[in-house]
């Protein structure tokens, strides 16, 4: 693609040298890129300083608050590729709608309908997308760490839209936005923003990238994070994920301490032969009305989706007034708009 198509973004400098044609303009990076990884990338929530988190939240707040016409051309003519090796409803659609509402062009490549089926490697798929003019790749992949590979070989900003059992950083940001607004906190965060707040994340922690990203972010803001689940789905080493995280097998006890209850789905696709007694799981870990009102009647209920109603959560809770589940989805759109703008602005939000 020609460098001329890059001129839409008002904040971006013009006349990109030919060699860097495939890359986004780079005003200035907030953090220097590690071994050739573009600073606009978001591979792990751990790469963001709290200041950057605040900047992303602020940008999301602004984009969500203003009329859509104000930012409809922010990324006009910019090209984004959605590269999805796993199925997705929320993440894919919200990235796509976020991109389109900023005026960007998107293309979706999925493993089922592309040369990936013919055995093309992730590296070659990325290089192909870059050669076609993609300036940013949003990647969902079933292998942990694959965004690192893609970012390294393409030099493009890569947004991790969920990689295996590793991380889902945009989900952690949208969850944070949801928690902050539900608890009436400012969208600018510091180390003490969530002091006194306990968040319990319950369910299949072992296979959950959402749990990892949240557990790696929330304690940095002062929150206490309790990981809750049976031994099989919550191995003891999870406690070392971040200082201050605690493990609790007893869901009732976890709930009693929590202001936020984040529920997770059992990831059948990643069980790798593990046998789960679902009836027992339901009995011990399902969030239902009785349990909720008995132990945490005021807690904000969250779920990253997809939910399996009747297993980890019941309909009355999921659809009830304390549920922030739809708000999470809406916030996903705002956060992803901010992340796309950041990615194509060289890492500055």
């Amino acid at each position: 693609m020609s460098p001329a198509t890059k001129s839409a973004s008002k904040s971006a400098p013009k006349s990109v040298p030919k060699k860097a044609a495939a890359q986004a303009p780079q005003p200035k990076a907030t953090t220097p890129p590690a071994d050739g990884i573009h600073p606009g990338s978001l591979l792990s929530i751990t790469q963001l300083s709290l200041e950057e988190v605040s900047n992303i939240l602020a940008l999301a707040e602004r984009l969500a608050g203003e009329s859509s016409s104000k930012h409809a051309t922010l990324l006009e003519n910019r090209k984004l590729a959605l590269l999805f090796y796993e199925s997705s409803t929320r993440t894919r659609t919200s990235f796509e709608l976020a991109a389109k509402s900023l005026g960007a062009m998107t293309t979706l490549v999925s493993d089922k309908s592309s040369s990936i089926e013919k055995g093309e490697s992730l590296k070659d798929t990325g290089l192909t997308l870059r050669a076609l003019g993609a300036e940013c790749i949003i990647l969902r992949h079933n292998a942990s760490g694959s965004p690192y590979l893609l970012a390294k070989h393409t030099g493009l900003p890569v947004l991790n839209a969920g990689d295996g059992m590793h991380e889902h950083p945009s989900q952690a940001l949208l969850d944070l936005r949801t928690i902050l607004s539900r608890l009436g906190k400012k969208q600018a965060v510091t180390e003490t923003t969530l002091d006194g707040i306990t968040v319990c994340i319950t369910g299949d922690i072992l296979h959950s990238r959402v749990a990892r990203s949240n557990a790696l972010l929330l304690p940095r803001l002062g929150a206490k994070v309790i990981l809750c689940g049976p031994q099989q789905l919550l191995p003891p080493e999870a406690v070392d994920l971040y200082p201050g995280i605690t493990l609790e097998r007893d869901f009732d006890k976890a709930l009693q301490q929590s202001q936020v209850a984040m529920m997770l789905r059992i990831q059948k696709e990643r069980l790798a032969g593990m046998q789960i007694d679902l009836a027992d799981y339901q009995k011990q870990y399902q969030l239902h009305e009785d349990r909720y009102f008995k132990h945490a009647p005021n807690a904000v209920v969250m779920h990253p989706g997809p939910m399996i109603r009747g297993l980890e959560i019941t309909a009355d809770i999921a659809d009830g007034p304390s549920s922030a589940i739809e708000e999470q989805v809406r916030n996903g759109l705002a956060i992803r708009m901010a992340l796309l703008a950041r990615a194509l602005n060289g890492g500055a939000a």
Partner: protein
């Protein structure tokens, strides 16, 4: 017939505990004589010997690596016997024991002889390890006697363990009868399905399935139990179990106990397991992916301790070449292993000699004399008169920068690329022929 006089060097020969200035005279493919500096000049002159000045250098028996993958037959795009032996020569090695997990698997006398054929153009000596079971499938043991007759020096299903108790029991007996070591890759593959790194907090955070310490130590303990039963029964010859690439303190402890109990159990440690920990995996670096995986700092330190106190018998690289496109994949998809022949001596000098003050005599024992002994390679690992003229000349004091692209190996999958390391190999002589010169 040709003679070589290596003079002025500091000669290290572990079997005779020689560790001082000595000249060395080689005739044809054998060592003839060691002498005080200048003592052999007259003889050398009479024979018209080529003179090699080794002033400032260590002169030692050529290094022996009892665990390498030369990838032939079948995977010549990763390495060939020619390219792998050239990489070995560059690293100061004069003998390599190559593993049978090729395509086809080296499980017959025919394939063993194919590996040994002069057409393979090996520049240093190659000693095949043959498969312990047919196709390395872990079910039916191969014919150890005829494999030995064809040139095999040991049996192993490296890359896969022999899991079934009954098969391992049978393999230990048959290997002992044939006078071969039974060489085990200790991994309980039933509990490492889908695992790609060391189990623990880091694997959890990276979202990678982990291989537990017990997956290694459990098999080592089981094997030792079988060796003990066979040894104490007094029936038949004593079995020799050699444990490959030990990576965990727990497995090493089991081996320590077995040795104290007088069992014939030996083991090796790979340089990466005493140099690196699973921290190297961060960023999903596939050049830090191997099996057994890089472990914790406590495990790494235990490997150093074992090499220092003699529990670990030798150093072996597990040189495992893979093509660039194979390592440039998603971490879980990328194959296990790194190359190691070029850097083993330097890494050992750096960690063991410099950092832990291990005398070079002991280091050469671990990299030459002991491994040759474990695999029964007669006339190797020593500079005694009549031994093969396998010699390495290196400068332990100066440094070099390793550039994997310049290695004669066909692959460059190594986490040590670009590092400046101590210990420069100046010359490698294999059976009287100079096969590498810096």
């Amino acid at each position: 017939m040709k003679s070589i006089l290596i003079k002025g060097g500091h000669l290290i020969d572990p079997p005779s505990r020689t560790d001082r200035l000595r000249d060395l005279l080689i005739h044809d493919n054998k060592i003839v004589e060691l002498g005080d500096p200048g003592k052999l000049n007259a003889t050398a002159k009479k024979e018209g010997a080529e003179i090699i000045d080794a002033t400032g250098l260590i002169v030692a028996p050529g290094l022996v690596d009892i665990h390498v993958h030369l990838r032939e037959p079948g995977q010549g795009y990763k390495e060939t016997i020619e390219s792998g032996t050239k990489a070995g020569a560059m690293g100061g090695f004069t003998a390599l024991c190559c593993m049978p997990n090729t395509s086809p698997v080296v499980d017959s006398p025919e394939i063993t002889r194919w590996v040994l054929s002069p057409e393979r153009n090996a520049v240093i000596r190659v000693f095949p390890v043959a498969a312990a079971t047919r196709g390395s499938m872990g079910e039916a043991i191969t014919e150890y006697g005829s494999l030995k007759a064809a040139g095999a020096v040991g049996v192993s299903d490296d890359g896969k363990p022999v899991l079934q108790d009954a098969v391992m029991h049978q393999a230990l007996i048959a290997a002992a009868r044939a006078g071969l070591p039974m060489i085990q890759h200790a991994e309980n593959t039933k509990i490492t399905v889908g695992a790609s790194m060391n189990a623990g907090a880091r694997a959890f955070r990276l979202g990678l399935r982990g291989m537990s310490v017990e997956a290694e130590s459990g098999i080592v303990e089981r094997d030792i139990r079988l060796v003990r039963e066979l040894t104490t029964s007094g029936k038949g010859p004593r079995p020799h179990l050699h444990v490959q690439h030990v990576s965990t303190a727990k497995a090493m402890e089991a081996i320590r106990h077995a040795k104290r109990a007088g069992l014939h159990v030996t083991c090796e440690v790979a340089p990466h397991h005493f140099m690196l920990t699973d921290e190297a995996v961060e960023g999903y670096n596939t050049h830090a992916k191997m099996n057994p995986p890089l472990r914790s700092e406590a495990d790494r330190a235990a490997m150093v301790t074992a090499l220092l106190d003699g529990t670990a018998d030798c150093i072996a690289t597990d040189h495992a070449p893979h093509a660039v496109h194979e390592k440039e994949q998603e971490f879980e998809k990328a194959p296990n292993g790194i190359t190691g022949l070029e850097t083993a001596l330097s890494l050992s000098i750096k960690m063991l000699h410099h950092q832990h003050r291990m005398p070079l005599l002991r280091l050469i024992h671990l990299m030459s004399t002991a491994p040759a002994h474990i695999m029964g390679l007669r006339g190797r690992g020593t500079l005694a008169p009549e031994a093969f003229a396998d010699v390495v000349l290196f400068d332990p004091k100066s440094t070099w920068t390793f550039n994997a692209r310049n290695s004669p190996s066909k692959s460059r999958n190594t986490p040590f690329d670009g590092q400046t390391l101590p210990g420069v190999v100046k010359m490698t002589i294999s059976e009287g022929r100079v096969v590498y010169k810096a």
